[in-house]
Amino acid sequence: MGMLEGKVIVVTGSGRGIGRGVAELAAEEGAKVVVNDAGVAVDGSGSDRAPADEVVEAIRSRGGTAVANCDSVASMAGGESIIQTALDSFGRLDCLINVAGILRDRMIFNMTEQEWDDVIAVHLKGHFACTKAAAVVMRQQRYGRIINFSSISGLWGNAGQANYGTAKSGTAGFTRVVARDLGRYGVTCNCIVPRALTRMTSDLPKGPSQERVVGRGIEAWPPDHVAPMTCYLATDQAWNINGQVFLVYGGTVALLAHPLPQRTIFKQGMWTADELIEMVPPMMEGIANPAPPPEDIDVPGRPKS
C-alpha cells in the first residue's frame, strides 16, 4: 500500500471503464488524482459531468484525494487545461495517464472522413495535447511518468477499425519517441495494451471471425485488472522502464516485441524482382495471410487447386 503516496496523477478518460479503475487504484495507493472525463458516449458524442464527478466522490468516500476535470483531450487548449488543473489543485504533476478514447468502427471502403478524423483526434491529438503540456513540466522538474494506451486492434490488426487501429498503433510509436525525448530528464514513457470487457468492447462480435479477434474471451477480463501494471509504471521503483509496450488483461502482463527486423534476406547491391520472386517465399515460411481470398474468386498468381 501507499506506493504512489503523494504523487499527483492525471488520468484522462477516467469516468468509466479502464480509466476509472486506474484512477481509483492510484488514489488507493496514496496519489492525488485529477479525474478527467468529458462524459461522452463511446462514439464521442454528447457530454456529461456525472462520470468524472462520481469517480471523485467514490475516491473521496474512501478517504482519498481527487478533483474532477471535464475538458476534452482533443485540443491543445483542452490538454493544457487538464494539466493546469493538476498544477492548480495539487501544486505539481508527477504522472499523466492517457486513457481517453472513442470508437467509430467501419470497414475501410465505407469509412467516412468524419469517422476517421474523430477517432484520430481523440486518440492521437489527445495524446499529444496532454503529453506536450505535461512534458514541459516534467522536464523542468526532472521527474515524470507518462503512460499511454494502445490496442491490439492496431498492433495485431482487427477488421473494421482502420481509424482506431491507426491511432492506437500511432500511440505506441509516440511512446517510443517520447521515451527518447524525455528519458534523460528522469521521465519515463511507456504504453499499455489492455484487453477488458468495457463499454467500448461489449459490442464486439464474439463468434469465430478470423479478422475480428479482439472480442474473443473478453468477458473474462474485468477493466479494473488493467490498473495494477498501469499504476506500477508510475511508481519510483519503475524509474528505469522506458519506451516499452505491455499487453495487460486479467492476471496477465506481457512485454511486447517491437516490430523490428526478424527475418532478413541480403545481397550486395540492388535486388531484381526475379531474385525476390525466388527469395521472399522462404522468408515468409509459416506467415499466414490474415484474410485469405476465398476459393471462388479468381486470384492471378494463385496456383489452381
Binding site: 491507426t166 510509436g173 516499452q244 550486395q268 540492388m270 490474415p290 481470398p293 486470384v299
Partner: protein, 319 residues
C-alpha cells in the same frame, strides 16, 4: 522480366523525388501505367512545384513507358479522390496504390507546436486514408488490388525529435494491418515498407543533431548514412515491385524493413516475456516480479544521467 506488371495501372504518391521516384520508374519499367503524383513541396511541406512530377513522367516516357502527372496533395479527401480518379480516367482502372508521400517537421516533444504535429499527421495519416479509401472501393469491386504503404523505423523502434513522425509512421503500420483484414478476402493485399535510404528527407537531420543524440546516450535507429553499405532511394523499389506482382498474391498485412540490399520481415508485436497469476496483481507483487521476470533483458533507450537525483534509483556507493 520487364513485363511483370504489364497491363497494371498504378498510383505512386510523392513520386516526384527520392524513394517515390524510384518506385514510379521501376513500376513503369515492368510495364505498369503510372500516375506520378507530387505537388512538389519542400521536405517540410511548404511550396508547390509541378516540375518534379513532370520530370519523372518525362523520364518514364523517354524509356518507352506510360505515365501521367498529378499534382494534388494527399492531405484532403478531395485530393485523394482526385488522385485515384486520375488513374481511372487515364488508364481505365486502378490496380496498385503506393502511399509514399510524406514530410518532416522535427522537434523535441516539449517544444513541438500544434502546427508541426498537425501537418505531419495530416500528410502521412490523412494522406494514407484519403488515397486508400477511394482505391479500396474500386479494388473491392474488381476483386483485385495492391496497396503498399510507407512506415518508418522512427515509429517502429523510436527516434528522438520525431513524436509527430513516429506516431504517424507507427500509425501507418496499424492502418496496414487493419486494411489487410478489411480487403484480403476481395483479392487485395495491403503491406507496408519501412525504408532506410539517403534522400532529401533524411538529409534534413543535421549532423550536429545526430551527434548530440549519440553523445547523450540516446539509442539511435540505424541511420541512412551509416556505414559503407550504399542505401540509395532506388534500392527500395524492387521490394515494392515484387509486392505488386501476381507472385505476391498471398502476402498481406506485413511490414518490411528495406534498405540497401537488406530486406527484413518485421516481428509481430507479440509477447516476449509474460507473467500470470490468478486474480488481480498488487503493486507490491509487481514491484517484486517485474524487474526479474519481465524487463530483465531490456535497456532504457534514454537513461537518465548519473548526476540526476532519481527517486527509486539505488544510490551509488560513495567512492
Amino acid at each position: 522480366m520487364a513485363d511483370l506488371l504489364k497491363g497494371r495501372n498504378a498510383v505512386v504518391t510523392g513520386a516526384g523525388r527520392g524513394i517515390g521516384r524510384g518506385i514510379a520508374i521501376a513500376l513503369a519499367t515492368e510495364g505498369a501505367n503510372v500516375v506520378v503524383n507530387d505537388p512538389g513541396v519542400a521536405a517540410d511541406g511548404s511550396g508547390f512545384d509541378k516540375s518534379p512530377a513532370d520530370e519523372v513522367v518525362e523520364a518514364i516516357r523517354s524509356q518507352g513507358g506510360t505515365a501521367i502527372s498529378n499534382y494534388d496533395s494527399v492531405v484532403s479527401v478531395e485530393g485523394g479522390e482526385n488522385i485515384i480518379k486520375t488513374c481511372v480516367d487515364s488508364f481505365g482502372r486502378i490496380d496498385i496504390l503506393v502511399n509514399n508521400a510524406g514530410i518532416l517537421r522535427d522537434r523535441m516533444i516539449f517544444n513541438m507546436s500544434e502546427e508541426e504535429w498537425d501537418a505531419v499527421i495530416a500528410v502521412h495519416l490523412k494522406g494514407h486514408f484519403a488515397c486508400t479509401k477511394p482505391a479500396a472501393v474500386l479494388m473491392r469491386q474488381q476483386r483485385y488490388g495492391r496497396i503498399v504503404n510507407f512506415s518508418s523505423i522512427s515509429g517502429l523502434r523510436g527516434n528522438t525529435g520525431q513524436a509527430n513522425y513516429g506516431a504517424a509512421k507507427a500509425g501507418v503500420a496499424g492502418f496496414t494491418r487493419v486494411v489487410a483484414r478489411d480487403l484480403g478476402r476481395n483479392g487485395v493485399t495491403c503491406n507496408a515498407i519501412a525504408p532506410s535510404a539517403t534522400t532529401r528527407m533524411t538529409a534534413t537531420v543535421p549532423e550536429a543533431a545526430a551527434a548530440i543524440r549519440a553523445q547523450s546516450g540516446v539509442a539511435q535507429p540505424r541511420l541512412a548514412t551509416a556505414g559503407p553499405v550504399e542505401r540509395t532511394p532506388e534500392h527500395i523499389a524492387p521490394m515494392v515491385v515484387y509486392l505488386c506482382t501476381d507472385h505476391a498474391w498471398n502476402i498481406n498485412g506485413q511490414i518490411f524493413h528495406v534498405g540497401g540490399g537488406t530486406i527484413s520481415l518485421a516481428a509481430a508485436e507479440m509477447p516476449v516475456h509474460s507473467i500470470t497469476k490468478r486474480g488481480k496483481w498488487t503493486l507490491e507483487e509487481l514491484a517484486q516480479i517485474v524487474p526479474t521476470e519481465l524487463v530483465y533483458d531490456i535497456a532504457n533507450p534514454a537513461p537518465p544521467p548519473a548526476d540526476l537525483d532519481l527517486p527509486g534509483r539505488p544510490a551509488k556507493p560513495k567512492e
